[in-house]
Symmetry: C2
Subunit: 601 residues, 2 copies
C-alpha cells in the first residue's frame, strides 16, 4: 500500500474544489474555524489512524473478541486505539463547543473518518457508534438524561450502541417484542432480546449506553407503538458513577465473516426482571427519533463502504504498478522484459472501474455531508427545508450505491492481485469481507430500493426530485469546456427517460402491475443511482476541466485532473449505459420475478 | 439446507432429458453401462458426500492445515473422507477397465462430482487433483512412468498435483525459471520454486506425484522451452515402494480466504541439488501436454463454481421459505401474520437470479462434459474433429461464465440471509469464500476473455463458431411450443448483432484500435457468454415445455418444469438484455480504458 492511507490531494479536491467547504466558515456555527483548523484536524485523524489503527487491522481480524462467560476479551491494541481516538477529542468533533465539542462541519468529520475506515473499520466501530448514540441523546433525550450520559460519551468514558434488531425482527421493526413496564420510580423495566448489536459488549469503557427500541405495555401495534430507551450496562450511583450492574447480559458473541474486531452481540435485557431503562423523549415516538437520525447513519454506512472500496483500490493500484507479468505490444518477445501489469488493458479496466466506483461514492457522500451541514446551518428555513427534501431523496442512494459498488471494487482488487489477492497475506480479501456488511445493515439495499421507489420519490409531492433537478441544472450550467459538456450531453437522454418513467411508476404503484413493480424495485434504484452518480462524476469533471483550462499546472496536478476526466468518461460510457436494461424492464412492467411461484423453485 | 445435497430431479433432468446420456451406452466404451449403473454410482457419490464430506466442511474451514516444519497436520476427517472416496473406486471412475477403472462417461463423473463440491470442496480437492494428474500421465507419459505411478494414483495410494505457477510467473508461464538437468541415469535433476500448488503437501497418501513444468538447460526461450516432469515426494525403491525422501520440500503453507481445507503450498525443488524428476513425453512439449488437458481442467473449475453457487442457492431458498419478516399485500396490517420472505418480490428476484445462474452454469458444463465424451467416443474422426472445435471455442465460457456467476449467486444468497448470511453460523459466506478462487485459477477470467477473442474465435478458420451456429440451429428447430419459440425470437437480434461484430473484431485486432479492443475483451466474453447461456437455457426450456405439453404430470414435476420455463424467461429478459451495453462499447471501439494513463490513477 502506498504511504498515504487516503490521498490528501483527493480529499482537498473533494472538500475545497468540488465543494466549497471553506465557505462554511462564514456561517456562525463554524465561524471560529478556517481551512487551517480543518486541515489540522485531518492531520490529527491521519496520524492517529496510521499510528494506532492501521497496525492492528489484520491482527484484530485474526484474533476476534472472545467471551469467557463473564467478560469479553480482545487484543489490547483496540483499547489503545480507542483511548487515543477519545483523547484526541474526535468523538466530540461535530458537537457544540458548550458540550465540549469542536463544532466542526459534518463534511470535515467525514474526511477525518476516511482515515479510520481505510485503516481499520472494526476498531473504529466503537467510537463511531458512540457518536451516533450520543447524537440521538442530544437531539431527543431530556436534559437530565443528556447531562447524565452525553458528556461522558463524548469523552469516551462511556460508549454507546443502537439496539434495534431482535432475533425474529430485523427489517421489520414493527414486530419487535422487547417490552417496557413503567416502574414506581418513573423509570422503566425492559425485557427482551436484541441481536446483531455492534459493540454491545466489551471492556473499552466504564459503561455502555444502549439505545433500545421497546414497546411500552399497552402500546398500539406496529411501528406506532415503539419507544426508545437509554439502558446502561451499569446503573449510576448517587454521584453518577457507574456502580451496580444493570440487568443486561451478553448472551453470546456472533461470529462474522468480516468486521471481526467489532463485537456483534446477542443481548438479554431483564432476564431477572430488573433491567432499568429511561425513556427518551415521548412514548411511542422511538422509531421516529431513530429515523430522524437515519439519514446520517445511512450516510455513514455509504461512506464507509466507499472508503473500504478505496482502500482496496489503492492496494491493487500499488500492486499493479509493481507486479510484472507477461508482455505488452510491441515488446512481446519472450526475451523482452516483462511488463508491469498496469500496462495490460484488462487490468487498466479493473482499476478504472474501481476508481469510478470509489471516488464516485466518496464524492456522493461528501455532497450529502454538505447537505447535512446545510440542514443545520443554512441561512433560511426555506433553504433548510429544500435541503431536507433533497437529502431525504438521496439517502437511499447514498446508503445503497456505495455499499453495492464498494464491495464490487474490492472484488476487482482481489482479481487484480490474482492468487495473492485470494490469500490472507494481502489485505484486499479483508477489505471485501469487512465491506460485505454494508449492503446488509442500516436497511438492506432491497429495503432502500423500496424506500426510494415507493416513498422518498413522492414525499412532499415530489419536492426532492424538483430540488434534485434544480441543483443538477445549476451544476450543468457551470460546464464551460468540451469534455464536461459532452458528458452532460451523454447523460441527457437518460434524464429524459427518467422523467417519463416516474409518472408511470406513480400510476402503476396503485395499479394492477403493483407486484411486478415491487419485485423490480432494484431496477429503479439502479437507474436512479447511476444517474445520480453520473451527475456527481460530472461535477468532478467540470471542476477538473476548469482547473486544466487554467494551464501551467505542475505535472502531478495535471495527471490528477486528467484522471478525473477519464474516470468520469469511463463511468458514463461503461456504467451509466448499463441502465437501459433497467428502463426496459420497468417500462414493460416485466413480471419474470413476480410471476415466479414458490413451488417452482 | 434441504436434505438433498443436489436435487436428483435436477440431475436426472440434465442427464436424461436435456442430454440423452443414456444413449452413450450404445457406444462400445460404455456398452457395459446402463441407466441403472449410472444411477448407482451417483447414489454412491451422494452417500459418501453426505456421510463423509458434508459433516466436516465447516470444521475444515475453521481448522486449516498447519505445518510444524516437518509435517502438515489437518483434522482427521479429511483423511477418512479421502480414504472412503478412494475405496469407492471413484478416483478411477473415468479410467479404462484395464487400468482398474469403471470406464464411466465424463458426464456421469461430473454428476458424481456435484455431490462432493456442494458438500465440501476442499476435502474434495485432493482426489480431484489426483484424477487430473493421473489423466496427464495416462495420456502422455511413457509406459514405464505410467505403470509406476498411475495404478497407485487411481487407488488413492498416491496422490497428484499440478505444479505450474512460480512466485514470479503465474499467468505468464513463459517466464518460469525452474530448470531440469539431465543426469547420468537418464532422469533429471529439478531445481526451482513453485507456488500456489494445491494439495502440494499432506499426509493423506503414501506418496505425492508432482507434475512439474520446468525448462531443460539450453531450451528455447518462452513457452516453447517448457518440459513436463514427474517428481515424486518419495523416490521408489527397487520394489517400487516409496522409500527415500526426494529433494522436494514444503517451504510454507499459504493462507487463503477460502478453500482452506486444501493445502496451498510453496514448494522448493532441488534445494540440495538432488531432486529427481522423470520427463513426461518429449522435451519442450510440456506446455502442450498441459494444454491438451486444459479443456477438462477448466471444465472442472467451471462446474465446481456452478455447484458452489448451487449450494448457496439451495441454502438461501430453504431459508427464504422458513424465515418470516414483514408482510405482503393484501395482508399488511401489523396484526396480520408475518410473511415468509420468499413472498417478497425482491427476494424472489434474488432467488430467481441465482437459479438462472447456477442451473444455467450447471447445464452448460454438462453440455461440455458430453462434448468430452463425444471427443473420446464419437463414431467418426470427423465428428470428433467438430466436437473438438466446438469444445475449444466454448472452453473459455465454460470456465469463466460459471466462475463469474457462481460467486454472484453466492453473494445474493448472503444478501437473502441478511445479518445471518454475514455470520459464520450459516454456510453461505463460506460458499462465497470457497468459490472466489474460481475466477482466478486455471487462467484468470481476464485471460479467458483474451483467449476467446484473440485465439479461440479464429482457430481452424472459425470452425468452432460454424459448429456452434449449427448446433444452436438444430436445437432451435426442436422448439414446438410458444414459450420456447418466444425465447428464441428474443435471442435472435443478439445473434444477428454478434454476427456483425465478429468480423469487425477480426479486422480491428490487426488495426489501430487494437489496444482499445484488448482492453475491452471482457465485453466480448460477456456477450458471448450470455448468448451461449441463453441458448443453454432455451435447451432446458424446450425440454421442459415439451414435457408440460404431454400433460397429466404429477404436481411436483409440473412445478419443476414451470420453474425451468420461468428461469429461462428471467435469464433472457434480465441477463441477456444487459449485453447491449457491451455491443455498443465494442462496436464503438470505446477507448475509455485503453486511453487511461498510469500517472492519471
Amino acid at each position: 500500500m502506498s504511504e498515504e492511507l487516503v490521498s490528501r490531494k483527493e480529499l482537498a479536491f473533494q472538500l475545497y474544489e468540488v465543494l466549497d467547504t471553506e465557505s462554511l466558515c462564514e456561517r456562525e456555527r463554524f465561524s471560529e474555524h478556517n481551512k487551517g483548523t480543518f486541515d489540522a484536524v485531518m492531520d490529527t485523524a491521519d496520524k492517529i489512524a496510521r499510528e494506532k489503527f492501521a497496525p492492528h487491522n489484520r491482527k484484530a481480524d485474526l484474533n476476534e473478541p472472545t467471551f469467557d462467560g463473564e467478560r469479553v476479551h480482545m487484543i489490547p491494541e483496540v483499547k489503545e486505539a480507542f483511548d487515543t481516538y477519545a483523547e484526541s477529542g474526535l468523538i466530540a468533533g461535530r458537537f457544540d463547543f458548550e458540550d465540549g465539542g469542536m463544532q466542526l462541519p459534518e463534511t470535515i468529520m467525514m474526511a477525518c473518518s476516511s482515515y479510520f475506515t481505510t485503516s481499520n473499520p472494526s476498531s473504529t466501530g466503537y467510537s463511531f457508534l458512540t457518536v451516533a448514540a450520543a447524537n440521538v441523546i442530544k437531539n431527543f433525550a431530556s436534559q437530565t438524561i443528556k447531562d447524565t450520559f452525553m458528556p461522558r460519551m463524548l469523552t469516551g468514558e462511556f460508549t454507546g450502541t443502537m439496539a434495534l434488531t431482535e432475533p425474529h425482527a430485523g427489517s421489520s421493526l414493527a414486530d419487535i417484542t422487547t417490552n417496557a413496564r413503567l416502574a414506581d420510580d418513573g423509570s422503566y423495566r425492559i425485557k427482551g432480546s436484541k441481536m446483531f448489536i455492534s459493540a454491545g459488549d466489551h471492556e473499552l469503557s466504564d459503561n455502555i449506553v444502549h439505545l433500545v427500541l421497546a414497546k411500552i405495555q399497552g402500546a398500539p401495534p406496529g411501528v406506532k407503538g415503539i419507544s426508545l430507551f437509554v439502558v446502561p450496562k451499569y446503573r449510576l450511583d448517587e454521584n453518577d458513577k457507574p456502580s451496580q450492574r444493570n440487568d443486561v447480559s451478553l448472551a453470546g458473541l456472533i461470529h462474522k465473516m468480516g468486521y471481526r474486531g467489532t463485537t456483534s452481540t446477542v443481548l438479554s435485557f431483564g432476564e431477572k426482571d430488573d433491567c432499568h431503562g429511561y425513556l427518551v423523549g415521548e412514548e411511542h415516538q422511538g422509531l421516529k427519533y431513530m429515523f430522524l437520525m437515519m439519514n446520517e447513519a445511512r450516510l455513514g454506512v455509504g461512506f464507509g463502504a466507499a472508503m473500504l472500496g478505496y482502500a482496496g483500490y489503492r492496494h491493487s493500484l500499488q500492486y499493479a504498478k509493481e507486479r510484472t507479468q507477461g508482455r505488452v505490444a510491441p515488446n512481446n518477445k519472450p526475451t523482452d522484459k516483462p511488463a508491469t501489469i498496469i500496462q495490460h488493458g484488462d487490468v487498466k479496466r479493473m482499476l478504472l472501474a474501481q476508481k469510478s466506483y470509489v471516488e464516485g461514492g466518496m464524492s456522493l457522500c461528501f455532497y450529502a455531508a454538505r447537505l447535512v451541514d446545510d440542514l443545520h446551518t443554512a441561512a433560511s428555513p426555506e433553504e433548510k427545508q429544500k435541503t431536507a427534501e433533497l437529502l431525504d431523496l438521496l439517502t437511499p442512494v447514498v446508503k445503497a450505491w456505495p455499499s453495492e459498488f464498494g464491495p464490487k471494487a474490492n472484488d476487482l482488487a482481489i482479481q487484480i492481485l490474482g492468487g495473492s489477492g485470494y490469500t490472507r497475506e494481502y489485505p484486499v480479501e479483508q477489505c471485501w469481507r469487512d465491506n460485505r456488511l454494508n449492503p446488509i445493515h442500516e436497511g438492506t439495499n432491497g429495503i432502500q430500493a423500496l424506500d426510494l421507489m415507493t416513498r422518498k420519490l413522492w414525499q412532499a409531492n415530489g419536492a426532492g426530485l424538483v430540488q434534485l433537478q434544480k441543483v443538477m441544472s445549476e451544476d450543468f450550467a457551470k460546464a464551460k469546456h468540451s469534455i464536461s459538456q459532452q458528458l452532460i450531453g451523454d447523460l441527457q437522454p437518460y434524464l429524459t427517460k427518467l422523467q417519463a418513467l416516474i409518472p408511470l411508476i406513480g400510476s402503476e404503484l396503485r395499479g394492477e402491475n403493483q407486484n411486478a413493480l415491487l419485485a423490480n424495485a432494484s431496477c429503479f434504484l439502479t437507474i436512479f443511482g447511476q444517474i445520480v452518480v453520473s451527475w456527481i462524476w460530472i461535477r468532478q469533471a467540470i471542476t477538473a476541466e476548469a482547473a486544466l483550462a487554467k494551464g501551467q499546472l505542475p505535472q502531478d496536478d495535471e495527471a490528477f485532473y486528467r484522471g478525473k476526466l477519464q474516470a468520469a468518461k469511463y463511468f458514463i460510457d461503461w456504467e451509466l449505459s448499463a441502465i437501459n436494461r433497467d428502463f426496459t424492464l420497468l417500462t414493460n412492467m416485466n413480471d419474470s420475478c413476480s410471476a415466479m411461484q414458490e413451488s417452482w423453485f
